[in-house]
């Protein structure tokens, strides 16, 4: 089981949950698992089958784009962070 942190702007898609659990060996597996349960989330973070450029995904504190992208492996019991930019300074 892996914990995924959901940013405030994507919580409508996860029924308000700030963290969700998912199973899988890679980031792609996890997001597929999540998408099954929260189809609206998939719409938000994917663009043409790939991760949308405005969403960062961190595994063990590292941006998966600097690793193997969606094929980056995840560790059982680890944490994955989904993070789009926030503009607010207000």
């Amino acid at each position: 089981m892996i914990t995924i942190r959901i940013p405030p702007t994507l919580r409508t898609e996860t029924e308000g949950a700030s963290t969700v659990e998912a199973n899988g060996e890679t980031v792609r597996d996890l997001l597929d698992d999540l998408s099954g349960r929260f189809p609206a989330l998939r719409e938000r973070i994917y663009a043409e089958g790939e991760l949308a450029r405005f969403v960062n995904v961190y595994v063990e504190g590292e941006d998966v784009r600097t690793r193997q992208g969606l094929e980056t492996r995840v560790r059982e019991g680890g944490t994955v962070i989904l993070l789009p930019a926030m503009a607010g300074g207000c």
Binding site: P8, T9, F54, N56, P84, A85, A87, G88, G89, C90
Partner: protein, 373 residues
């Protein structure tokens, strides 16, 4: 040698009238703050090694002094043991000397008022007098005098940052006062830059506050950034301004302390052009508008900008002082609800269109269009 009992203390008046050599036995820091003109400085721990070398004539009359006369009296046996024939202590020390209005000379880079105001900084070895003098010569530009800009500006002004610039074209609205602690009810309807200037100058008259009652745009950013700012604190409330500031800061080579907030969560990092990533390396593209609600749309816990803006002030002070480990290449994620501070790595992207090895964006673009998706 005389066998009569020596009078081992004299008053400050007597010391001033006499011809004896005044020896200040206090530590370096005390000497720097203020000492008697013409006195010789030999800290008490160095008397045995340095006094014979500096004053070879053992018959020369010596008057020792310290802050209030205790230490200078205690060292007399040490001086006797070195063979000096005539040494006395000035009673009441330099405090009594000052009270009589006698002259005091200072090596300090800070005047007495500043030493008092910044005394808690001066006590920290990492800041000290040199660091404080450096802060007083530092210029920091704040983009926005809102939620993040408020605490950042207040702490930077209190810390004695000598010049603070504020770019904000907005006016103080009642809905701002739940978190924008720089402004107050009396300032409703006033330009935020002006309200901020007043508050900061009341807090610390050492600070020169420069206001720009305008919105940061491609047209004014070069003019504003070229006015000598050492670093920028970004508390903007929209994506176009953040991307514009990013590009400009890379081209002007000025570090940006970035902060952003939404509801209960905030992010902080430092973008130091060429040493670390830039905002575009972190977020190459802004989210579509429906995924990027502002605080005006989504709300924000009042204290959250207090936390994040203060973290930004902390980073700014570290950069200005050249101490600690600035959050370059590290994005700090704060969640007020869980009271958790996480950190993720941000790497410079060699393919970044602005700070990368072969940049493709060389001039300002239409940022509103870029951010509209």
């Amino acid at each position: 040698m005389s066998t009569t009992r020596r009078v081992r203390e004299i008053t400050a008046e007597e010391a001033r009238r006499g011809e004896a050599l005044l020896v200040d036995v206090r530590n370096d820091e005390e000497w720097k703050v203020g000492h008697i003109p013409g006195a010789l400085h030999v800290p008490m721990s160095q008397l045995e090694t340095r006094l014979p070398e500096l004053v070879p004539d053992r018959s020369r009359p010596i008057v020792t002094y310290c802050a209030v006369g205790a230490r200078s009296f205690r060292v007399l046996p040490t001086i006797d043991a070195l063979g000096y024939e005539d040494s006395v202590s000035m009673t009441g020390g330099i405090v009594a000397w000052r009270e009589l209005g006698f002259p005091v000379e200072s090596d300090s880079r800070l005047d007495e008022e500043k030493r008092e105001r910044y005394s808690r900084h001066l006590l920290i070895p990492e800041v000290g007098e040199d660091g404080q003098a450096r802060l007083l010569e530092t210029s920091i530009l704040l983009i926005g005098a809102g939620g993040l800009g408020s605490p950042a500006a207040l702490y930077l002004a209190a810390a004695g940052v000598g010049r603070i610039g504020i770019v904000d074209d907005d006016v103080v609205d009642a809905s701002n006062l739940q978190r924008q602690v720089l402004h107050s009810t009396a300032g409703l309807g006033e330009r935020k830059a002006r309200s901020a200037k007043r508050a900061l100058e009341e807090l610390n008259p050492d600070v020169d506050v420069v206001t720009y009652e305008e919105r940061l745009t491609s047209e004014n950013v070069d003019r504003i950034l070229s006015e000598g700012w050492d670093l920028v604190v970004d508390g903007a409330d929209n994506f176009p301004t953040r991307y514009l500031l990013n590009d400009a800061s890379v081209w002007h080579d000025v570090p940006v302390v970035h902060g952003s907030i939404f509801r209960f969560e905030g992010q902080v990092t430092v973008f130091k052009p060429h040493d670390g990533p830039c905002y575009r390396c972190l977020f190459p593209q802004p989210p579509p508008p429906e995924l990027a609600p502002s605080c005006a749309e989504g709300g924000v816990l009042g204290v959250l900008p207090g936390v994040i803006g203060s973290l930004q002030a902390n980073e700014a002070l570290k950069l200005a002082l050249g101490i600690g480990e600035p959050a370059i290449g590290r994005l700090l994620l704060f969640d007020a609800l869980s009271a958790r501070l996480d950190e993720v790595r941000v790497r410079r992207d060699p393919g970044c269109p602005v700070c990368g090895d072969e940049p493709t964006i060389m001039e300002y673009v239409d940022y509103v269009e870029f951010c509209s998706g």
